[in-house]
C-alpha cells in the first residue's frame, strides 16, 4: 500500500515480475477535465516512482478475479511492453498536414488475387498512413533518440508519438525545434509524458 501526493491510496497486485497498481472506487470516474488532469498527474507520479509503467486507459475498471487472470494470461506481452518503456518517456509532436502531403493509399480491397495479396495491400495501406512527408527531414534529425514511434492522422493534423530515453528530452526538443525552423515546418512538441501511446499491445 502507498499513498500518492494527491492522497490517493494504491496497492500492488503482483504476478511474477509484472504487477498491477490499483485503487478501489465505489463508482467509475467521469471523464471531466478535472478528473482527466488528476489522472495524468497520478500517472506522472507513478512514472517517477517506478522504472516502467504501462498506463491503463482512463476509467478502466475490472473485478479482481478478472485482473488476476489478465495478469497471468498476458504476463509475457506485458513484460515485453514494460521492458520497451523502461527508462523512456513519450514526446508528442503535432504537425499540420495538407491534402497534397497525404500519399495515395493503396486500396487493400482492390481485386486481390489471393489472401496474401489482400494482406500485403492492407500492410501497404497501413504503412502509407504512417507517412508524414513534411515531417521526414525533422525525424531524421532526432532519429538517434527514437526507440519507437506511433503516428495518428486525424483530419489535417498528424500526431507523432516518440518513445525516447528520459535523459534525452532536452536534446530531443532542441534538435527537433531547430530542424523544424530550418525546414519551415510549423509544429507543436509536448512532453515528456508517461508512455501512453506505447502501452497497448
Amino acid at each position: 500500500m502507498f499513498t500518492t501526493r494527491s492522497g490517493e491510496r494504491f496497492r500492488i497486485i503482483r504476478n511474477g515480475r509484472v504487477a498491477a497498481v490499483v485503487t478501489q472506487r465505489a463508482r467509475p470516474l467521469t471523464p471531466s477535465a478535472a478528473n482527466l488532469r488528476r489522472y495524468d498527474r497520478t500517472m506522472r507520479e507513478l512514472a517517477a516512482r517506478f522504472p516502467a509503467i504501462l498506463p491503463a486507459r482512463f476509467g478502466t475498471t475490472v473485478p479482481e478475479d478478472e485482473l488476476l487472470f489478465i495478469l497471468s494470461s498476458r504476463r509475457a506481452s506485458l513484460a515485453r511492453g514494460l521492458a520497451t518503456v523502461r527508462g523512456r518517456v513519450q514526446m508528442t509532436v503535432r504537425v499540420m498536414t495538407t491534402a497534397a502531403e497525404v500519399p495515395p493509399a493503396t486500396d487493400p480491397f482492390g481485386s486481390p488475387s489471393s489472401g496474401r495479396d489482400y494482406l500485403t495491400g492492407k500492410a501497404r495501406a497501413a504503412a502509407a498512413a504512417r507517412v508524414v512527408p513534411v515531417f521526414e527531414p525533422i525525424r531524421g534529425a532526432v532519429a538517434r533518440w527514437i526507440r519507437d514511434e506511433r503516428v495518428d492522422r486525424r483530419g489535417g493534423v498528424a500526431s507523432i508519438y516518440h518513445l525516447i530515453p528520459r535523459s534525452s528530452v532536452e536534446n530531443y526538443r532542441r534538435t527537433l525545434n531547430t530542424a523544424a525552423d530550418a525546414a519551415g515546418v510549423r509544429l507543436v512538441v509536448s512532453g515528456p509524458w508517461p508512455p501512453y501511446a506505447f502501452s497497448a499491445d
Partner: protein
Amino acid sequence: MTDVAPRPRVQPAGRSRPSDADLVLDANDASLLDIVDNVLSKGVVLSGDLTIALAQVDLVYARLSLLLCAADRVLPNENADLVARHHDRRVRRARAVAGRRARR
C-alpha cells in the same frame, strides 16, 4: 521529469486572421488536448466495453481502477502476493465443496 507538461512551442503565425493551423496549434488548452488524447484514446485496454463497468456496480468485488507497472524493481519488501492467497482460497473452497458432496 517535470510534473507539468511544458507549454507547447508555437511558431509565429505572421497572419492577421487565424488559420486552421493557428486554431489547432495555438490552442490555449493545448495541454488539456494532450491529456485528453493520452488518457482517453491511449493506454492499456483491459475490458472491451467500459459500459459493462458502468452498468454493473458489483458490491461483492470492489471495482478497481488500474494501471500496470513492473513489479521486479518495485517495493522489494512487498510481500502481498495476492495471487498465491487467491489460489489458496480457491483450493480451500474446492475442498469444502467436495467434502459437502461426500457427506450427502
